[in-house]
């Protein structure tokens, strides 16, 4: 009786604490045990929800970070790092389905690099996940026939539990697999499964975007290369010139510590430096021997033409220097070059680099009216031009690079 009263008081107390919507729950409670269970569930539910809010918030932050990274290598590193943390795992691996769809490229982060190992698509748990598109949760690998213990034997790593989820593109094709190992505090549960699926969605869409972006960049780059080759090939004596000038320019630039997007801009400017030749008459371009003053004027037009063709292109921020760099590869430090007679630092650094590479390739190439100049003599010629024609800093870097990289090549060829 006293107990019945107690239960009644409990229920009244709870009732007064609950919002309207939940009061009907109380009709289920009859004993002290019922009340205990009801409260325990409510408190546990609250704890789980708190944890869930934390993990979802973390996932949102990670999803944002992944979306913000369009460079493929950096993105892979980010996915590997974030998936490990979010899933409380000890290791994380991404497997990408290869273009042939017969292999997986396994990506493992080692400090700031990515190690790529190619395995057949029908191997292991990752392979099974890639082929079926099903998530695979293995709480006890050593008593699971799907798990191959030999891998642990080879690597010395002890796999205590593993969760493997497919990465799908927008069209739901499997483009890879995300695998996390050894969750701290026991096997992965259903909540982990839900979470890795969501993380996998963000990883997939970001990878897809990065690949699209990279494909677009490659398309542009290969177009520049193909075009440069076509222009050079009009004259058998200049075949391959733009590609060689580009390689030498990149070599000099690296020697000078130029890298990243600036190096890429220089590379493109190198490929495009003679694009203005599209507008120069062949009979002048290919004339054997000395040019008349008028012909010289016409051939000098190609630098202006290069600018005219390139200036119409809305290059993205990191490439916006291309028209100027490409167009000024015939300027001289003395101001006696063309097309604008710019002096010293008025000439973009990239142009100063291409200018050295351009002259070096021209004099060491065969022409109908002369033999190619030997390597040492050509380097001397460049060195003698330092200060008047060329930037001495560029010449210095060129010389170091040329003796290290070009001498052997040229004497062999």
């Amino acid at each position: 009786m006293a107990n019945e009263q107690l239960v009644e008081s409990f229920i009244k107390l709870i009732e007064s604490s609950l919002s309207e919507a939940f009061r009907s729950d109380l009709s289920q409670l009859h004993t002290e045990g019922d009340i205990r269970t009801y409260l325990a569930d409510a408190f546990l539910d609250r704890e789980r929800l708190k944890e869930k809010v934390d993990r979802l918030s973390e996932l949102i932050h990670i999803g944002y970070m992944l979306s913000a990274e369009v460079r493929l290598k950096e993105l892979l590193l980010l996915i590997l790092d974030k998936s490990k943390r979010l899933m409380n795992a000890d290791r994380s691996t991404i497997y990408l389905v290869d273009v042939d769809r017969l292999h997986l490229k396994s990506m493992i982060a080692t400090q700031l690099e990515i190690k790529e190992i190619i395995i057949p698509i029908d191997s292991g748990i990752a392979g099974a996940c890639a082929m079926t598109g099903e998530l695979i949760n293995i709480p006890e690998p050593y008593s699971d026939p799907r798990f191959d213990k030999n891998i642990d034997k080879l690597t010395g790593y002890v796999t205590r539990n593993m969760l493997t989820a497919p990465l799908r593109d927008k069209l739901r094709n499997v483009i890879g697999v995300m695998q996390v190992l050894n969750k701290s505090g026991g096997p992965f549960d259903e909540e982990d499964e839900r979470l890795i699926r969501l993380l996998g969605s963000f990883a997939s869409v970001s990878l897809e975007n990065a690949m699209l972006y990279e494909a677009q960049e490659t398309m542009l780059e290969k177009f520049f290369e193909s075009l440069a080759a076509a222009i050079d090939a009009k004259d058998p004596y200049t075949a391959g010139h733009s590609a060689r000038v580009t390689d030498i320019s990149v070599g000099i630039a690296k020697e000078m510590g130029i890298e990243g997007e600036e190096l890429r801009q220089l590379r493109f400017a190198g490929l495009l430096h003679d694009i203005g030749k599209i507008g120069v008459r062949d009979e002048v371009l290919r004339k054997p021997g000395r040019l008349t003053e008028h012909e010289r004027m016409h051939i000098q037009e190609h630098a202006k033409q290069t600018y005219e063709i390139l200036r119409r292109i809305p290059f993205t921020k990191s490439l916006e220097g291309i028209p100027h760099i490409a167009a000024h590869h015939h300027e001289k430090m003395s101001g006696k070059g063309y097309p604008d007679g710019l002096k010293w630092h008025e000439v973009p650094l990239g142009s100063r680099i291409i200018s050295v590479a351009d002259v070096f390739d021209a004099v060491t190439s065969k022409r109908p009216y002369r033999d190619p100049m030997p390597f040492e003599k050509a380097v001397d010629l460049i060195e003698n031009g330092a200060g008047d024609e060329f930037d001495p800093e560029v010449v210095k870097a060129f010389k170091t690079y040329a003796y290290r990289e070009l001498k052997g090549q040229m004497n062999a060829g």
Copy 2:
């Protein structure tokens, strides 16, 4: 006394329901009132957490959807729609900071289109948010001096509450503003503020990606245009040829119901169809009068050259037809064209379209040895070629398009 015992029993019951970590909470409880408050808080907390999990899950889904959309227009529509839903709002507007940074472009979704209105950046709440980068929550617009009631007067809309948040790019620059109006069930609260910030992050990064993607595409497109113009300009008689052929080809294609990515591929192929002329000697290209058999062979090389230049480019999926389409614009339905003597459906549809546009532009352009052909005569010529030289379906679409769009232009010009 009885009450003290009751309180003690309550506390014991709660204690047995709580997990270890929360038991210390109980030392704060002394009266029935304390317990009531404690339980009410716990139950309310659970309800709030549940709601939060729901909204975060929805946000994750929306974040994924936004990340997956790289087309700018579609993305804006998606942001407008999803922000309205997630924020329980009646209206949503996106304002993008213009390139001049002096204006905002206001984007309003009207069914499946986007209406753009340009306003000065210092106007209204959106402007204040764009300039300061601060979130602005206005629970009661009509008693808030920052709100301009005239806008409601003009539009007839009654603003009951509004929340305005900045959109920031990866470098934290404000690139726009997201504004939601009239939350159902009262003003926006702190939870809404947190949520719109997170949504704004996803919207910003997706917008930035889409803009980058669009910038890259535009770069490629403008490069094709500039190059085509340079090639055509070598010969004053062909100046503007590639651009005109492209316009006419697009006109025919639209008439045939071609759209989207296929139309874009055709447009690019049109611009690039004569790129192989880079490899053709000028004296042949510009020869007045009839060509010798040998010269004809050489000029026919340009179609092959077009293919050679383009085949090296790893075009993305939706553009991969370009090399074939561009290279086969001189094939004939009879199989007597060049470079490969393809017949009928062996010739890509795009090539069949460009072929008609190419011949029409050639015959209606002036040449040193003949006057331009009048419009009607040129259309007749194309029509007479249907079946033997041209695809009759393409000719039909061309005729409709030409009489509607080209006749007026040409008679005027």
